[in-house]
Structure formats: C-alpha cells, structure tokens
C-alpha cells in the first residue's frame, strides 16, 4: 500500500490541489456583491411608452417612439487606483425587451467611486468578424453594407418630419477615425465613494432621457434631420448629445 501511495503520490497531490482550488473558488463568490443595473428609458422624467404616447422635444416638435436600443459595453467600476472590469461585457439595452434593461454584475466587495461604460461597441469588436450573444448580427444592430455596429438606434414618427409616413430614424454608428461615435459614460456613485458589501445585493437605477438626443451640445431638429443612418457629421453630433442622456438615479441596497 505504501509502495502504491509512493507510486501515485503525484496523482494524490493533484487531487489535493484541485480540492484547495475549489475551496478558493467558492470563497471567491462570497467576496462579491451582486449588483443589478436597471436602465429606465424616459422623456423628461416620464417613463417611455413605445408607439402610443406622444412627447415633445426641446424644439416643440411632437414625436412618438417605436424603437429605442443602445449598446452598453465594457462596464467598469472605478476605485481610487484601479477598479473592476466586467468580462465579455456587451449588453444591448432594448426598450422592446424588458429583460434587456437589467444587467447583472458580480462585483468584488469594496468602495467604488464611479460606474463607467462605453455607449456603443468598442472598435475591436467592429472589425473581428462574426460575433455572438448581444453582438449577434441578428439583433438588427449591424450594418451589412458598411461593416460595423449601430451603437444606438432611435426610431419613431413626428409631424415635424417631412419624409415618408412622417418617420424619423436615427441609426448612429461609426467606430474609427473622424466618424467615431463611441462615448465613455461616467456616472459618479453617491457620496464620494460607495461601499458594496460581500454577499449583499444592490440595484443601481439609471435613467436615459431621449430628449437629450436633440440638445445638450448641438441643436438638432427633427424637421431638419429626420433621418441619420450612416456614419458622419450628423451621427457624431447626435452622439455628442446622447452622451449626456444618462443619469444615476439611486442605489438601493437589499
């Protein structure tokens, strides 16, 4: 038997290592807080309702919304010196899909200063071929004629629009050079730093106000720009505007 143990000591050692690895892994889970980000799309504080409700933009143009989607990627919680980067962090928030408006993050416990994310899909994933998950081209957010993701999409109708069926359509994309519309969003957490405790659950409520698409930086009217569906100047101006649409409402600890 002893001879045998000697012979297979390597195997036993491996077994022991595996067991301790497993312990370490499970204790790792305990070190984390469960954080849910809930995105609420609004117009001037009113919850967005697709198709039915009419809203008024900053130029007194009335409009309804039929589609509202945007990519939230590379979610990062900032600490004093470093932070936590979510892996494979690509999320399509789609007003038409309730589940898509909730993003879960396993966050290592600690004090964090801000929540950051990219509004859009980073350049690399625009040039790396066929993707999956929320980046699957069947999500109808990928340009087939000019490879690249539509970072954000807003569609609806407005009496101010003179194009067919009084439509307005904004498909905002462009990932490189002067056409780049990627926006880094930084939302400060309450206080100068917020503590997330291990084993606890938190919900961060974030609103996105559609009315910012037409103002904030550049004044854009539906009457003058009913359709923007290619990279370029107007897409860039809209993205300068919508970079200001997010607001961290509150954090609820459970």
């Amino acid at each position: 038997m002893i001879k045998f143990l000697k012979k297979y000591s390597a195997v036993l050692l491996l077994l022991l290592t595996a067991t301790s690895f497993q312990k370490k892994l499970s204790s790792g889970i305990d070190d984390k807080a469960t954080v849910r980000l809930i995105f609420s799309n609004v117009v001037k504080g009113h919850i967005l309702v697709l198709n039915d409700s009419a809203y008024t933009n900053p130029f007194n143009e009335s409009y309804t919304v039929s589609k509202f989607r945007y990519y939230v990627s590379n979610i990062f919680f900032e600490k004093d010196n470093d932070g936590f980067q979510q892996k494979d962090s690509y999320h399509l928030v789609d007003e038409g899909n309730q589940a898509s408006k909730i993003i879960s993050v396993g966050l290592p416990a600690g004090n964090y200063k801000s929540l950051q994310f990219l509004l859009g899909v980073d350049s690399l994933h625009n040039v790396s071929g066929a993707q999956s998950g929320d980046l699957d081209p069947d999500k109808d957010m990928f340009w087939t004629w000019n490879s690249g993701y539509v970072m954000a999409k807003l569609e609806g109708s407005s009496p101010a629009s003179a194009i067919v069926n009084h439509k307005f359509e904004y498909h905002i994309g462009g990932f490189s050079g002067p056409d780049k519309v990627l926006k880094e969003i930084r939302l400060s957490l309450p206080g100068s730093s917020y503590e997330f405790r291990a084993g606890k659950s938190y919900t961060i409520f974030i609103t996105a106000d559609i009315n910012e698409w037409w103002q904030s930086v550049h004044d854009l009217k539906i009457a003058e720009h009913p359709a923007i569906a290619a990279p370029g100047t107007w897409a860039k101006e809209i993205s300068d505007n919508y970079a200001h649409m997010f607001h961290l409402d509150k954090i609820v600890a459970e």
């Binding site: 297979y8 036993l12 595996a18 999956s132 699957d136 490879s147």
Partner: protein
C-alpha cells in the same frame, strides 16, 4: 490493487471537473481535421482571416454546403452560388448585374471569389471589413437573397444533416449565425487560384508564346502598377475614368468614407481569370477585354478624382491590344474552375 487504481483515477477525473477552466472551452472530445491555407510560392503573406476561425475539413465542408444551399434565400432560388458560379471563377457569367429575389437585379457586377485571404476589405467600395461578415449583405439585401438571418437559421435547424455537420465542425449541434458565418468564411477563404498558364510559366513548367510574351512585357510596362503581380491587383481604390452611371449614381468608395476625394473610386479588381469574368467594371458596362483596352486608350473621362496615372489614358496600338489580350488569356486557371473540392457537394 487494481481496484484502488481505478478508484483513484475515477476520483481524479471527478475532481478535475471542478478545476475552473478560465477559457470556457468545451472539452467534449470532438476531433476535427486541420487544414492549411495554401500559400503559393512567391506570394505575399495572407491576412490572418482564420485567426479566430481555425480552418478544418469539417468547417470547410459545412461552408461549402451552405454556399450552395438555396435555403439561405427567401424563396430558395438564390444560393450564394447563383451569383458566384465556379465556371466563372465565382463571378456571374455573362451578366452585368446578377438576378435576385422577385425579378430584381443587383446594383453592381458580382465580383469573382478567389484569393480572398489576401484582401483586408471586400466589395467594390471596400465597405466590408471582415470575410466573416460579408454574407450578411447578400443574404439580407432585398434585391439579392432577401432573407433575414433568423429565418435562415430556423430553416437550417430543420435539417438533420446540418445538425450533424455543425457538430462535426464546432463540437455541438448548435446552429447560430456566428458558426454559419465562420463556416462560410472557411469555404470562401479557401478558394485559392494560382495555377494559370502564367503561374506555370513562372514556375518554369511552361513557356509563353511570342505573342503572350509581348503582351506580358506590355502589361508590366503599362498595367502592373494597379494590377500588381502576383495577385494582379494592389487592392487600392481608384477612379479609372468611367463616367458616373446615370441611373445608379454610384459614387463607390465615397459611399463608405463620406470623403469627396473618394468619389467614383472602386476597388482595383484582380485580373486573374479575367477572361471568364466578363462583363467588366463595377457596373458591368464593358462587355469585352477589347472594350476595356479601348476605354484606357481613348475613353477616359476627366474628373477631379481621376487617377493621376490615367490623365492621358494608356496608349496601345491595335497590335499591342491583341498582344495584351493574348497575355490576359494566360491568367485563366482551369484547374481552379474545375476543382471538385469547390464544386456543388
């Protein structure tokens, strides 16, 4: 004793299942047969188009089946191969524009498909930045295959042969857009054409006739800046002096870059297999090689973005025109046009 060994090994196997795998690889024990992309002697290195898509026999065969399958189109009539015919070097033979769904036409001449690994951009305007995402365009274009990706996938999922082939290529029988596109890229990216008479002459296996040789010398002197050997294109975008198509108003590369300096610029096409890819130019307006030479002799339309090398056209005597065309005939790769590996499975 044996019993203990068995128990220990079993315990080890069980324990190893708990060791976290940082890359989430699926160890289902499936095996694929690796393939190597053929890189002809003397050619530049290809782009790493298979970097995230390891080329395998199983993936290639799945891509081949998909390429020839009408179910990728709305009414089943338009597989990729309806516009990309092998005997035309995977262009559409004798068509300025190709036919699509509901009696519609495409708006550009179907380019031939070969040596795609040596290009980083695709389409006449370079709008496609990766070989894997190219099929999304023809599949969803309302005047081509007119279908959406989810409907295509739903159709493929009804076919047990596809379940088998996706499993063989990717380890499980999950059928999704990423796998479909990667498999298609394995097929189209493997289409290498490098066995024309020109290639055999270069390899010292054959010699040019005197007319072909005269044509080759003319070609090197007057055409090879843009149609650079050995791929017979420099992959640049240039305005080669064609008047804007009145009907299509196609501004070419400018449509992608938005830059007026790119107006009327189109991808310089390879001249390999050029005899079988007629008609020529992005809108197929020139029906013969003679017409193409005539265009460069005396058809150049001046415009601000015209390529500087074409300001005065390219002079060719009638005799030289004959010789150039003789040379261009040596670029036909009949091995490629009849290669059974690339034909309908």
């Amino acid at each position: 004793m044996k019993k203990i060994v068995v128990i220990l090994i079993a315990a080890f196997v069980v324990a190893s299942a708990f060791i976290p795998d940082p890359y989430h690889t699926h160890k289902t024990g499936f095996h694929t047969t690796p393939l190597q992309l053929e890189i002809p002697k003397g050619w530049p290195a290809p782009y790493a188009i298979f970097k995230n898509n390891p080329l395998t026999e199983e993936g290639f065969q799945l891509g081949r089946k998909l390429f020839y399958d009408g179910r990728l189109s709305k009414d089943s009539n338009f597989p990729c191969s309806s516009c990309h015919q092998q005997f035309a070097a995977f262009a559409t033979y004798d068509h300025d524009f190709s036919h699509g769904y509901n009696n519609q036409f495409t708006t550009r001449n179907a380019p031939p498909l070969f040596n795609l690994a040596w290009s980083s951009l695709y389409h006449w305007d370079g709008g496609i930045n990766h070989i894997e995402v190219q099929p999304l365009f023809p599949i969803t274009a309302p005047n081509e295959m007119a279908e959406n990706i989810d409907s295509v996938l739903a159709r493929l999922r009804k076919d047990t042969a596809y379940h088998r082939m996706f499993k063989a290529a990717f380890g499980t029988d999950e059928i999704n857009s990423q796998r479909m596109l990667k498999a298609l890229a394995q097929f189209t990216g493997s289409l290498v054409s490098a066995d024309s008479k020109y290639d055999r002459v270069k390899r010292g296996e054959e010699i040019f006739s005197s007319g072909e040789q005269r044509g080759y010398e003319l070609f090197k002197a007057r055409c090879s800046t843009c149609h650079k050997e050995p791929l017979f294109t420099d992959y640049s975008f240039r305005n080669n002096g064609l008047a804007m198509n009145d009907y299509l108003k196609d501004s070419g590369r400018m449509r992608i870059t938005g830059d007026p300096a790119d107006s009327l610029k189109f991808r310089v096409p390879s001249l390999r297999n050029v005899v079988v890819t007629f008609p020529y130019m992005h809108d197929g307006r020139l029906y013969s090689l003679y017409k193409v030479i005539d265009h460069y002799r005396n058809g150049i339309v001046q415009s601000p973005t015209l390529d500087s090398s074409l300001r005065n056209g390219i002079p060719f005597t009638d005799k030289e025109k004959e010789d150039i065309v003789l040379f261009l005939h040596t670029l036909t790769d009949t091995t490629f046009l009849h290669d059974k590996r690339f034909s309908q499975p």
